[in-house]
Subunit: 437 residues, 2 copies
């Protein structure tokens, strides 16, 4: 297959935030001729007080829809692009494209169309600067009603991207069956990059960001968490499910299917190795990929002598939850007990009705309803061959007087779960991070 061996590069908002960042992109692209497919986000913040282009565009659209003046935000958008174009000497006809956008807004552009112009203009600008072929995402990515990508998209992409040379494609959007622009509700430009990578059978999908790869824990919780060198798709999925801010799973699925590795790299430090996400890894040296978790869980625990002899008990409890509009997130049954994790928010004001309903229906010996619980997962391909890791984590948590309400290892081969009280969450994550290599 002639496209084999190419690299898809997705550049995030910070990588296209200003001209000097785009010069870094140029240098990255020029350093490897296999980097032929570039997917871009809209320009992000240049400093913490800056505004994101996408946010400004949403503001323009909603002001326009209310018949109000959107001059100020539009001016902020225009000046960013004009400045970048001027500084790069890109000659991307940006002025006329901005005029076109102003007309679209005046004509009642949808929020999706308005927001998508951040990526569109950025890709136009970059294509002109790099002298690459621009391909509009609206022409190659088709979204179905439920916001999933139609299989036909791969045919369109393969067709439009088949010639040699460099391509620039805007991320974040596609078009629906009526040809209207539609943005992705989750995952943004990362998804576009993954779709292109799958379509062109890329050798690797490079995801260029402002960090030198993924970390083994959330840096807002753990001080200086260690970086991940390698991580598998399924480890990413479990970490992500547990609350880690990594690639959205919809941005992984297309490349997962073809086992295309994803490389998370730093545009500002292209010399850093970054993190590679792949199908399999050697877990001898680093058995654990990372630790993640989230607070905001409610816990229901009920116990009744000979509960297990009543084969309907589970259905009866789940029926009560459903009738109170409480979703079940997690479930564990003991011999004569049942432990359920639910969204804590949904328990608000339902705690007492729920308690009464369970007491009436099941008459348990013991019933606990707790609203401030947290779930933590230690995720690693090496976990199943290293049971001492969970043992050590448990020991350290115990030494820190952190009460572990539930421990589970083995329900998934690659993760161990701990349920703790929310107030112990940060300490528990830090303690666990410090026990893993």
């Amino acid at each position: 297959m002639k496209l084999m061996g190419d690299i898809v590069c997705k550049f995030g908002g910070s990588s296209v935030a200003e001209a000097r960042q785009i010069r870094k992109i140029e240098s990255i692209i020029r350093s490897d001729p296999h980097r032929r497919y570039i997917v871009v986000s809209a320009p992000g913040k240049r400093n913490p007080d800056d505004e994101k282009i996408t946010d400004l565009l949403y503001t323009c659209q909603s002001l326009a829809a209310e018949g109000k003046s959107y001059e100020r935000p539009f001016e902020a958008v225009s000046s960013r692009y004009l400045q970048i174009d001027r500084q790069l000497e890109a000659r991307s006809e940006i002025q006329s494209r901005l005029e076109e956008l102003r007309e679209q807004l005046a004509a009642g552009a949808s929020a999706d169309l308005a927001a998508s112009r951040g990526e569109y203009l950025c890709a136009r600008l970059l294509a002109a600067y790099l002298k690459a072929t621009f391909v509009d995402a609206a022409e190659i990515i088709q979204l179905k009603g439920n916001d999933t990508v139609a299989e036909s998209s791969y045919r369109y992409m393969a067709g439009k991207l088949k010639d040699p040379g460099l391509y620039v494609i805007p991320g974040f959007y596609g078009s629906d069956s009526r040809g209207e622009v539609r943005t992705f509700s989750r995952g943004g430009s990362d998804i576009t990059g993954a779709l292109v990578a799958k379509a062109v059978h890329a050798r690797v999908y490079e995801n260029w960001t402002d960090v030198s790869g993924l970390l083994k824990a959330d840096p807002r919780i753990v001080r200086d968490p260690r970086p991940m060198a390698e991580v598998t798709y399924r480890e990413i999925r479990e970490l992500s499910y547990m609350g880690a801010k990594v690639l959205h799973e919809e941005a992984i699925l297309p490349v997962y299917e073809q086992k295309i590795p994803i490389l998370i790299r730093n545009t500002d430090r292209p010399e850093d190795p970054g993190t590679v996400i792949l199908a399999e890894r050697n877990s001898q040296v680093h058995p654990i990929a990372g630790v993640a978790g989230r607070i905001g869980l409610g816990l229901l625990y009920l116990e009744k002598f000979l509960l297990r002899k009543d084969p309907q008990h589970r259905d009866r409890v789940l029926g009560i939850l459903a009738s109170h509009s409480v979703d079940l997130e997690w479930e564990r049954s003991g011999i004569d007990s049942l432990l359920l994790l639910v969204p804590a928010k949904q328990l608000e004001e339902k705690r007492e009705p729920l308690r009464r309903a369970i007491e009436e229906e099941l008459n348990p010996d013991h019933l606990e309803i707790l609203e401030n619980m947290a779930l933590i997962a230690v995720v690693g391909e090496g976990l199943s061959t290293r049971p001492d890791i969970t043992a050590t984590a448990l020991q350290r948590l115990s030494q820190q007087d952190i009460h572990v309400r539930l421990v589970d290892q083995g329900s998934s081969k690659i993760s161990a779960l701990f349920v703790v009280h929310s107030e112990d969450f940060n300490r528990a994550v830090t303690t666990i991070h410090d026990t893993i290599d």
Copy 2:
């Protein structure tokens, strides 16, 4: 309530196996005037090569039903009772009662009736010896179609047992709605004792056996397991569910409902304190009651990227199990995985069809079907406040190179579960026993 404060004593087969054992019963009964209700089993083995009366009676009945001579087993039964009666000088009219039994067998006695005569004759003999009132279990215990005890039994018992003095009641049987004798299918005389204890509102239910109480592990697996001083009903239930040979739960339920303590004591060593089973205990000193487990489990583990996004996946897998007549014993879900424990026996010859069905229906990324797994439970009221116990157990198992396939603590507040390979079962139970106090 005038009956309050009395003690129900159940004596097992070894305690009534011969005259010198029955003299020990006499001394136990006479040493406390509150011991007013005696429930007896049939005479058990006097030595390892001896025959149990109940087994001999079943043999008589089945020979009689086939029209064959049952003289030899009947003679063995007769001589045991005659010898005991003679040695005790009980004058229990045993000869005429044996004749009556011979006639019943000849007239086509049911297996239940025949088997029940072991307890019946023993109770008759003991009542004569102790000059106590004999009450036939057939008159006070009514069994419903599904082998459960009718509530009316408590009325009959209360009526028949209301006067002062000493009573002897045969265990193991009652009568059905047509007045026919019916033996208990499980739990035997222990159930009778529990029913009487509940009926007379006993202060304590003493269960006299040939051991000085319960042990923290199975002595066939662990060398010199430590004894249990106290254990709660729910601890017993969990140990029993996990395979510990303790009182059958149906022998616990009646006294559990009234929080009557059960005392397991040794007829041969009445000075030993034994084990008390009760509603609550102080778990500070001995957080763990014991460790139990069983082999013979099959394990199914399946994993699929984004499995959890398919809300029907669990039902689909359980549907496949059901259509292959495989029962689900235990279930644990991970993020994108499902682990199921089933009876290993049921997997025989179904392993491949099951694998094919799961692969066709769910197309998992990974599917494991293992036939030689074991489940171990560490049970203790103190477990929830001592997470270090599970950590230590896990650490020691790991040091012993015992691969722990699943760990669960917290699904029940009083137990931690470990799944290991059958070949590691004995070592694992021993290792865990040695880590608990």
